[in-house]
């Protein structure tokens, strides 16, 4: 049996929802709210690996008992394990590009987008809660890296988040814009999980950082986002929202590089 634990169709949670829809693979959905910290409860599916802190919060796929976490590696799993469209390029170099884009999105884009979205949407809702209860809850999060990610959401102002995110995003956005100038999809002429991965993380930017992603500064990214929005699988995934505002649903992402 295939089960997907997910929240609103946005950022990390959006990726497997789109990929499973592209594959036409049936699954049982378990909707949970990470801002109520259900993912730290003992009955939430977890392994030593998934409970570590590489992506912080995200969807969990359980395939006949095997726990698959980390949203880009989950996309690779969905591409390789299920029938339906390949979602991977047909050449080894195209597949290399998919792996390389997955790395860029996870290490250079996800942190900045999650930071912007958390400052705009998550922090104000957390601040409405009784502060002592929240502090006690956050203090019990293990491991340390995930606890610090949640407390950082409360401590960071939107202006600070915006300044940090702008610095981090400039170079990867330039690369993505350049790649989409020469081909319709990130890994070349074939649609792949790299496009699903990038779309899930870039889609919030026209609203969160309109100065960075817009039709004149990044015309090819803007056209790419429109192409993705037109796909039936993307429409089906976005229609799974329960709040009606999936673009406001954010969780802390992976940390930025420790050296920079």
């Amino acid at each position: 049996m295939l089960e997907l634990y997910h929240w609103e169709p946005n950022i990390f949670f959006l990726k497997p929802l789109v990929a499973l829809a592209e594959k036409g693979e049936p699954y049982t959905a378990h909707y949970f709210d990470p801002t109520s910290f259900q993912q730290f409860e003992p009955d939430f599916p977890a392994t030593d690996e998934s409970s570590l802190h590489l992506e912080r919060e995200g969807p969990v796929l359980v395939d006949d008992g095997t726990v698959i976490a980390s949203s880009f590696f989950m996309l690779e799993y969905i591409a390789e394990a299920f029938a339906g469209p390949a979602l991977m390029p047909s050449s080894p170099y195209g597949r290399y590009l998919v792996h390389a884009w997955g790395q860029t999105i996870a290490l250079s884009v996800a942190n900045a987008v999650a930071m912007l979205g958390c400052a705009r949407h998550l922090a104000p809702t957390l601040r409405l809660r009784p502060s002592q209860d929240l502090k006690t809850r956050l203090a019990s999060i293990e491991p340390l890296e995930r606890r610090l990610a949640w407390t950082a959401v409360l401590d960071r102002s939107e202006a600070d988040a915006a300044a940090a995110a702008r610095g981090q995003l400039a170079s990867p956005l330039r690369r993505i814009e350049a790649a989409l100038t020469s081909s319709p999809w990130l890994a070349g002429t074939e649609y792949s999980i790299a496009d699903i991965d990038a779309f899930a993380m870039l889609a919030p930017l026209p609203e969160l950082a309109p100065e960075l992603v817009n039709a004149s500064a990044t015309p090819h990214i803007a056209a790419f986002l429109a192409r993705m929005h037109a796909r039936p699988a993307v429409r089906a995934a976005l229609a799974l929202t329960r709040t009606g505002r999936p673009a406001h649903a954010f969780v802390p992402g992976p940390e930025s590089a420790r050296w920079g």
Partner: protein, 257 residues
């Protein structure tokens, strides 16, 4: 594929060693271009024509250029005949990729921060200050400029170093627990996950002797020694030119650490 393979690399260590050992395990002949990282060969114009980011390694296969070391390992396994280095079961492939990311973005940055503060910074600081400043200014990527500046001028804060030490201890224990239950990173078969982990960790018994040794982490020690005994590992580490790569010899079973 018969197109020629050229690899631009430094010592068999960290990111350079990943494609070197993968190519050796697959039995792929390649033309080797050694770049001296400490002399900033990777920021010279002739190399920037291959990889404008100025990072090592880079692999050229026919007219294709690859510059990300972990995706490069998957490419080598994907594009060439030879023994498969990725499991065919997607669940095990997921595990291999999870561990490579854990090595690449959790374990390695902490370990290298300690290594750079102790070895690379002091070694490079011997040079003429003006020459060094010019060398740093030539680094194309801002993130790499910041990293080199920190290493050369010893700008790591005590807090950063303490956090790196904490993470190295934590990650070493996570790895030991994993290898207690699994012969290799993916279970029963040697894979890219082991190649990646060896490049990160072959010198742990020397750099972290109180944390990684036969008493405290016997499964890591046995795993490192088994990888060291593979012919491809011997052949790859024999291409090392410095004391850095020579550290691998402490994995000889006759050496008592």
């Amino acid at each position: 594929m018969s197109a020629m393979v050229t690899l631009y690399h430094w010592e068999p260590n960290a990111n350079s060693g990943k494609p070197m050992l993968t190519l050796a395990e697959k039995g792929v002949e390649y033309q080797s271009h050694y770049l001296d990282l400490l002399k900033f060969d990777q920021h010279q114009p002739e190399y920037l024509r291959i990889n404008p980011d100025g990072t090592i390694p880079a692999m050229v296969h026919g007219d294709l250029v690859l510059t990300e070391s972990t995706p490069m390992m998957e490419y080598i396994d994907d594009a060439f005949p030879g023994p498969p280095l990725r499991p065919s079961d997607p669940r095990l492939r997921w595990r291999m990729r999870w561990w490579m990311r854990f090595f690449d973005s959790y374990f390695a940055p902490s370990l290298s921060m300690i290594g750079w503060s102790i070895f690379i910074g002091p070694a490079v600081r011997q040079r003429d200050p003006e020459e060094l400043r010019a060398a740093i200014d030539r680094i194309p990527l801002e993130s790499r400029r910041i990293a080199w500046r920190k290493a050369i001028y010893n700008e790591f804060s005590e807090q950063e170093l303490a956090e790196s030490r904490r993470r190295v201890v934590f990650a070493t224990d996570v790895l030991e627990a994993h290898l207690r239950r699994n012969t290799w990173i993916c279970g029963d078969a040697y894979s890219l996950g082991d190649i990646n982990g060896f490049n990160l960790g072959y010198a742990l018994p020397l750099s972290q002797p109180e944390r990684c040794n036969d008493q405290r982490t016997p499964h890591i020690m046995e795993w490192l020694r088994k990888i060291y005994e593979r012919p491809a590992t011997r052949a790859t580490w024999s291409k090392g030119r410095t004391q850095m790569a020579a550290r691998v010899k402490m994995l000889e079973r006759s050496v008592q650490p």
